[in-house]
């Protein structure tokens, strides 16, 4: 499949995300924030970094970039979209996902190997994991505290839309230890930690993150099997 990775001014992890997509068996396609063009991709990754310098609020300006108009429209049609870290912030600012991400409660930038539990493996980004799988991937953020009102949190939990939860340590004050969520349809996923940094044995925490980049191949296979 063709996986688009958007580069915004200030994106940091776009190259790693492209690499992860390739290791996951896909063709990685670079997308530019200033273009009204998704170049025919099948899925989109919004990578981590500090798009537009985090000016105003993290993700607030990126949301109005030309490419995001296309991403929002495609996401509403059901295209798989994964926002990692800053990408998660952009998805919340775009109202594709509920809630918001605020400064870490302990006020420091945090960088650590983070243990997570995958709680929803029914998304195109997590189908490669067993439900309840525990993985360790890199986490690095200054504004990673997930917040939403109690009603929204109850709905997310009730509808099984909490995709991943922090284990052992809550690194940033996220409500109910939430590390990642999905939209109603499940095609849009936001995740604060970085699976794209954990796809090879050579670097990072191992290969626990690779599943995020092999999942939709599996979803496509399943779909084909169902259709056949």
């Amino acid at each position: 499949m063709r996986v688009g990775v958007v580069t915004f001014p200030g994106s940091l992890d776009d190259v790693d995300a492209q690499r992860a997509a390739r290791i996951g068996g896909h063709e990685a396609v670079g997308l530019w924030h200033g273009d009204h063009d998704l170049r025919g991709v099948d899925a989109v990754v919004l990578p981590g970094g500090f798009s537009y310098g985090d000016y105003l609020r993290c993700g607030a300006l990126s949301r109005f970039s030309p490419v995001m108009t296309e991403v929002v429209e495609a996401a509403r049609r059901g295209m798989p979209v994964l926002g990692i870290c800053n990408g998660f912030q952009i998805l919340c600012e775009s109202h594709l996902l509920p809630g918001a991400l605020i400064r870490n409660d302990h006020r420091r930038f945090v960088c650590r190997d983070q243990r997570l539990r995958i709680e929803n493996n029914r998304t195109p980004w997590t189908a490669a994991y067993d439900e309840g799988a525990e993985i360790t991937i890199a986490l690095k953020n200054g504004e990673g505290g997930f917040v939403a009102d109690a009603e929204t949190l109850d709905r997310l939990e009730g509808e099984g839309r909490v995709v991943a939860r922090y284990l052992e340590v809550n690194p940033n004050g996220s409500m109910r230890d939430i590390a990642g969520i999905a939209n109603e349809r499940g095609n849009v996923v936001g995740l604060m930690p970085h699976p794209e940094h954990s796809v090879e044995e050579l670097t990072g925490t191992g290969t626990d993150g690779l599943g995020f980049f092999t999942s939709f191949a599996r979803v496509a296979d399943l779909a084909e099997a169902v259709l056949a």
Partner: protein, 93 residues
């Protein structure tokens, strides 16, 4: 020239780590008696022409769309009249 001011504040129920950091710093500097600090943002928008209700309404929309995130922030819009000549306070002469 008319100026419209938008003040954006974190909602009361949202944790404000920056305000907390300032609150913690004040006693260390010898300032006492402050029980809470909330940190927000102030936007000053200079607008052309007459300041009509329509213009203020537009600024309200800007505030709701871009300047604030309604999930975590509240905003207020107010109008300021700016004197034609403003003396610069504290500049070297």
């Amino acid at each position: 020239m008319p100026r419209v001011v938008v003040d954006v504040m974190p909602k009361p129920e949202i944790l404000d780590p920056q305000g907390k950091a300032v609150l913690g710093a004040l006693p260390r500097l010898g300032f006492s008696g402050v029980t809470d600090v909330r940190q927000g943002k102030r936007f000053e928008l200079e607008v052309e022409g007459e300041l009509t209700d329509d213009v203020v309404e537009q600024v309200r929309q800007m505030a709701a769309t871009l300047l604030s995130n309604p999930v975590i922030e509240d905003f207020t819009v107010s109008v300021e009249t700016v004197p034609a000549a403003v003396e610069t306070v504290g500049s070297a002469s």
